[in-house]
Structure formats: structure tokens, C-alpha cells
């Protein structure tokens, strides 16, 4: 049996370790180089020290009683002092094994190990251990299902410019705000003091006024908002760059190894058989330049906040169609749509941005009438809101042209658009767990419907295609259903 890295004792005691601060501060404050001063300090702090020892002792007990081992192709973990918890995770059910090594753990030769199975409801990690690095190899060595094979060995190293491009394309202000909020809430007092110390608010105001001075006609408040959005986007860009730096993927018939990260190094082992489906993502610019990002849906991969379960960060059209993607995932191919929205469905696709634009203009005019003092802000806001609406209008046009589905040879290829991202889903038809055809009452007259596919995944994943012809949907699904055998849950043959 192995134990976690002793650093775990600190992690177990961390909630109460701040009590250490009180006697230490007292020691530093009244420190004199004399035995009398030390005794005086001990007389004052003996009770605090006893409590501290009790906290550390409890952390040590927790660590001591937490053991793990790998035997007979199974991961076994035992923990708990009064109540004993034993977990048995068969190696054949592991879907992903991640070893994360943040920079602060490197001097201690420690790393986090996350083991995942397809079980669970919310995509949470099943097993998380802080292990010694030498134990990390034991998992690969002793778990036969995580040992590399010899056939179909391909690897792909992603260049720096592709990582840069990927980070630019997939960074968002939203995730930047999430990181900032995490720093704000978890940093607590320290974060607030830092902001106060660096006089960030004042500097932001000064910068906004300066920039507004150069850009005549734009109010300082709008510039402040713009600067905040830009800085959160930059934060997200930096996080993506650091996360996917040095991205390298290697694959054989059964496994996929992914290495990435500049500061936080990640080594991920995925079971190819446990990948539910491929999700090829593009935004409008990527679509224009025939660039693709391939993500996989595999339980345990891409569960970190703000991360994409990316497998091939940036592929050109040729690489996606002929070279890299078919090599990495044999049998996978993007096929042409056999079912797509008819030309009469153009209006349902573009109606939302058109209505939004139509509603925005009178609303802003009214706002200017009611608040004439700040009409320049509303004018600016109107333009700023019209840009994303116009962008969405273009996206919806592209979505109308490209959305559709094809089911051939036991594989489904589905193209749809969600918000601003175009997705191409590639999966086995065995992965489809439910199909839903939905019709509003007016669609009975137009003969159209919406089609939703629910695919097998750790959390519910559904993909909807809008405004398809009902007869064509029935014909496609009728043919598909008639050739299908009842879907059974995953059961793979044991692998040596």
C-alpha cells in the first residue's frame, strides 16, 4: 500500500493552519535573543501551540489512514479514521487519468493524480490524489488498460503559432472574468489590499480619461468598460496560452497521451474506446479560413474550469479531411449533409438578430429622450450592441448554409451552430441514446420540425437542428432506426 505525498498533511490542515499565525506573530513581535524571552513567549503561546499541534495531528492522521494501491488491474483507495471508506476502481472502467504538476509541487516531486470513470452525474472527478512522482509511473506500469500498444502509433506536436492562434480564437472575456472573480473571492483580503496598494481603480480611471481624450466622441465610462473587457480577454488569452503551451498528442489503437502546459504541466491518458464523440469546433473566422479545432468528449477530460477538451488545437482543411484527423481517429470522416434545412427555413434562422436589431433602435431612441444628459453613452451603446447583432446575423446565415446531418455506415455526422460556434459532431450511431422531434403548432402547416439528438456522455449532451422538413427527418430516422439493434450500455471486450 502507498500513501499520498506528505504535503497532503498541510492540505488537510490548511483550513485551520491560520491559527499558526497568532503565536508566530507574537514571537516575531517580542523576539529577543535570550532564553527568558523564549520562555515568556512559550508561557503566552503554549495553548495556541497545543491547538496547532492538534490540528496538524489530525491532518497527519487523515494522511496516515489514506492509502492506495494498484493490484489485479484495479485501483484501490482506503481512507477515513472512524468511518473507513474503501473504493475499488477497476482499470477497465477508467476513462481518463490525469497527472497535473503545478510549479509549486515540483521541488517536492509531487503531483496531483485524477482518475475518472464514466460514472457520475455532474462531471466531477472521481478520484483525486496528491502523489509522489515515483508513484505516478506505477499506475501506467501496473494498470494493463493504461499501457501503450504498438500498432497505429501516431503523434502530433502543435507549433507555437497554432497555440497562439488557438488561444486568440478561443479566449473570451467571460472566462477572464471568471478567473478574476476567482482571484477576487479566494484572495479575499489580500486581493483587496493589493488592488488598494497598487491604486488600480485610480489608474484605470486615469487611463480611461486619457484614451477618451484621444478618441473624441467616446465617453470615458464606455472606455472603462472597454478596457475591463479587454483586460479580462487578455487574462483568458494568457490562461489558454499557458494551459496549451507545448501541446503534444500521441495515440495508438487503445490510448491517447496528451502533454501540455507551461507552468502547470499536464499528462493525460485517455482510453480511445471511452471517447463518446468528436466535436469539431469553428467560429466564423475559422470557418472563413477553413481552420478546425478538434475536441473530444471523454469523461474526465476537459473538466477544469474554462478548459476545452481539445485534442487537435488547430487543423487546416486538408489536415482535417485527409491527413491528421483520419490518422488520429481511424474511420472518422466528415461526410456531406444528407439532410439540411430547406431554403424556406432562412427566416427562422435569421429572425432573432433581425428582431433584436429592430427592437434596439427604438429602445435607444426612447432612452436618449428620457435621459438627454447621457445621450452620448446611449449612442455609443447602440453602436456597440449593433455590432454583435450584425455579427450574429452573419453567423446565422452561415449556420443556415452549413447545418445538417448525415447518417452513413453506422456513423453520424452532424453540423449545427450554438451561439457563435459552429460544431461538427462525429459519433457512432450507438452513441445516440434519444432522438426528439419537436414541432410547434405553426410548423404543422409549414411541414417543418426541430430535431434533437441526445448523445451518450457523462453529463447530458444534446444537439438541435432547427427547421428541417418533417418528411425528410422521418425518412432519415426511419431508415436509421430500422437498421439499428437495441442500444446496450458500453461493454467492451477485456484487453490484455
Amino acid at each position: 500500500m502507498h500513501r499520498e505525498h506528505p504535503l497532503r498533511i498541510i492540505r488537510y490542515s490548511i483550513k485551520n493552519i491560520w491559527l499558526l499565525v497568532l503565536p508566530l506573530v507574537r514571537l516575531v513581535y517580542s523576539y529577543r535573543v535570550s532564553p527568558e524571552a523564549l520562555m515568556a513567549w512559550l508561557r503566552g503561546a503554549w495553548f495556541d501551540l497545543l491547538i496547532l499541534l492538534a490540528i496538524l495531528g489530525f491532518g497527519w492522521l487523515n494522511w496516515f489512514f489514506r492509502e492506495f494501491t494498484v493490484e489485479e488491474g484495479q485501483l484501490f483507495i482506503q481512507d477515513g479514521i472512524l468511518f473507513t471508506r474503501r473504493r475499488y476502481v477497476p482499470g477497465r472502467n477508467l476513462t481518463a487519468l490525469t497527472i497535473r504538476q503545478p510549479p509549486w509541487l515540483r521541488p517536492f516531486r509531487a503531483a496531483y493524480l485524477c482518475a475518472d470513470t464514466a460514472a457520475g452525474l455532474l462531471g466531477a472527478t472521481d478520484i483525486r490524489l496528491l502523489i509522489r512522482l515515483r508513484d505516478a509511473e506505477m499506475f501506467r506500469r501496473t494498470l494493463p488498460h493504461l499501457r501503450q500498444g504498438k500498432r497505429h502509433n501516431t503523434h502530433y506536436k502543435v507549433d507555437l503559432w497554432r497555440i497562439l492562434l488557438f488561444s486568440v480564437l478561443f479566449s473570451s472575456s467571460f472566462y477572464g472574468s471568471v478567473y478574476m472573480a476567482t482571484f477576487w473571492f479566494q484572495g479575499g483580503r489580500v486581493a483587496r489590499d493589493l488592488i488598494q496598494e497598487l491604486r488600480l481603480t485610480e489608474r484605470l480611471n486615469t487611463l480611461s480619461e486619457e484614451v477618451a481624450g484621444h478618441l473624441a466622441g467616446i465617453p470615458p465610462a464606455a472606455v472603462t468598460v472597454g478596457l475591463v473587457i479587454l483586460s479580462t480577454w487578455l487574462l483568458s488569452f494568457l490562461a489558454n496560452l499557458l494551459r496549451y503551451f507545448g501541446f503534444f498528442i500521441e495515440s495508438d489503437k487503445r490510448l491517447m497521451y496528451i502533454h501540455s502546459g507551461l507552468f502547470m504541466r499536464r499528462r493525460i491518458t485517455l482510453r480511445t474506446q471511452k471517447i463518446n464523440f468528436l466535436d469539431i469546433r469553428q467560429n466564423l473566422l475559422m470557418k472563413a479560413f477553413h481552420l478546425h479545432t478538434v475536441a473530444v468528449n471523454c469523461p474526465g477530460y476537459g473538466t477544469e474550469r474554462g478548459s476545452i477538451p481539445v485534442c487537435l488545437p488547430i487543423l487546416t482543411g486538408d489536415e482535417a479531411d485527409y491527413t491528421v484527423l483520419p490518422k488520429m481517429f481511424p474511420g472518422t470522416r466528415m461526410t456531406d449533409n444528407t439532410l439540411r434545412p430547406p431554403w424556406t427555413s432562412w427566416w427562422p434562422y435569421v429572425s432573432l438578430p433581425v428582431f433584436a436589431a429592430a427592437a434596439l433602435m427604438p429602445a435607444m431612441q426612447a432612452a436618449k429622450q428620457f435621459f438627454p444628459a447621457v445621450d452620448d453613452i446611449f449612442a455609443f451603446l447602440q453602436i456597440m450592441l449593433l455590432i454583435p447583432i450584425g455579427w450574429k446575423f452573419i453567423i446565422q446565415n452561415a449556420a443556415f448554409r452549413t447545418s445538417g446531418v448525415s447518417i452513413t455506415g453506422g456513423r453520424i455526422c452532424m453540423r449545427y451552430c450554438r451561439f457563435t460556434t459552429f460544431h461538427t459532431i462525429l459519433a457512432d450511431t450507438d452513441c445516440i441514446v434519444k432522438v426528439r422531434i419537436h414541432r410547434w403548432f405553426w410548423q404543422y402547416w409549414s411541414g417543418k420540425c426541430s430535431l434533437t439528438f441526445y448523445l451518450q456522455a457523462e453529463t447530458m449532451r444534446r444537439f438541435t437542428l432547427w427547421s428541417l422538413k418533417y418528411d425528410e427527418v422521418c425518412a432519415l430516422l426511419g431508415e436509421f432506426l430500422s437498421t439499428q439493434t437495441p442500444i446496450e450500455p458500453n461493454e467492451e471486450t477485456p484487453q490484455g
Binding site: F83, R85, R86, V89, T117, L121, P489, E491
Partner: protein, 148 residues
């Protein structure tokens, strides 16, 4: 097909815990609410009634309804007093198993088995120590995991 029922010892333990909690809360009410006699008696009455209902009515009924049925291919758990709930999982869908044992190797009926399956989990509560071992052995025989 094997049927397992909840250990009554755990039921008695819960009953004692509930009574102790009610006693402590009533004592606290006596200490801190003595100035307002009506409020104090009201609180003590509420605590005692709740303890009686929970410890002597609901817990025995719940423990009587709790049962687990193991067949070669699936495990079913039945529970509920007013609303009966039946939950089944197939052996082949179990991804990993978690066994929780209380103090003294679960002698007081504090034995729980959690079966983690696709899309969730199923808990088998308050098993006897003998039953816990037997279910673990059956799961091991079916190849769900290797019991050590």
C-alpha cells in the same frame, strides 16, 4: 435472488442519537430561555415531539421499508414510507464501488455500499456486517471489482 434488510441496530442507534440531540437542545432551551417560560416550554415541546416522531415512528418505519435485492444481473434498492421508491442498477453498468464501514467494523449497522454507475449512483444503506461482506462477495463474483 438474495434479499437484504437494514440492520435494526443502526435504527436503535439513530433513535438514541435523536433523543440525545433533543435532550441537548431542550437543555439549551432551559438554560437560555428561562426568562420566557412560555417560549422555553414551547421549544422543549417541539423538540420532544420531533424527537418522538423521528426516533420512534419514522425511523422504524423507514428501516422496515429499506431492503436490497440482489439478482445475478442487477441490484434493486427499495425504500420509502409514504412514497415507495425502487431503484435498480445493472451489474454491467457499475463503474466503481465504494464501501463505507462504521466504527468496530460496522458492528452497529453502519455499513454502506455506494455503486457508481452511468449517470449517477445507488446507495445501499445500513447493511448488516454479514450482508455487506456477502454483497461485496457477490459483486466480486460477478466481476464488478476484486474484493481484497
Amino acid at each position: 435472488m438474495q434479499e437484504y434488510r437494514a440492520d435494526r441496530a443502526a435504527g436503535y442507534l439513530l433513535c438514541v442519537c435523536v433523543c440525545l440531540a433533543a435532550g441537548l437542545l431542550s437543555g439549551a432551551a432551559y438554560l437560555f430561555l428561562r426568562r420566557w417560560a412560555f417560549v422555553m416550554y414551547l421549544c422543549i415541546g417541539i423538540f420532544c415531539t420531533l424527537a418522538f416522531l423521528t426516533g420512534f415512528v419514522l425511523t422504524p418505519l423507514y428501516f422496515r421499508s429499506l431492503r436490497c435485492i440482489v439478482t445475478p444481473h442487477q441490484i434493486t434498492c427499495r425504500s420509502g414510507i409514504l412514497l415507495h421508491r425502487e431503484k435498480s442498477v445493472r451489474m454491467r453498468t457499475i463503474q466503481y464501488v465504494q464501501i463505507v464501514t462504521g466504527p468496530f467494523d460496522g458492528a452497529l449497522g453502519l455499513n454502506f455500499i455506494v455503486l457508481h454507475v452511468y449517470g449517477g449512483s445507488m446507495q445501499l444503506f445500513f447493511l448488516r456486517r454479514r450482508d455487506r461482506r456477502e454483497i461485496a462477495r457477490l459483486l466480486s463474483q460477478r466481476g464488478v471489482f476484486h474484493a481484497s
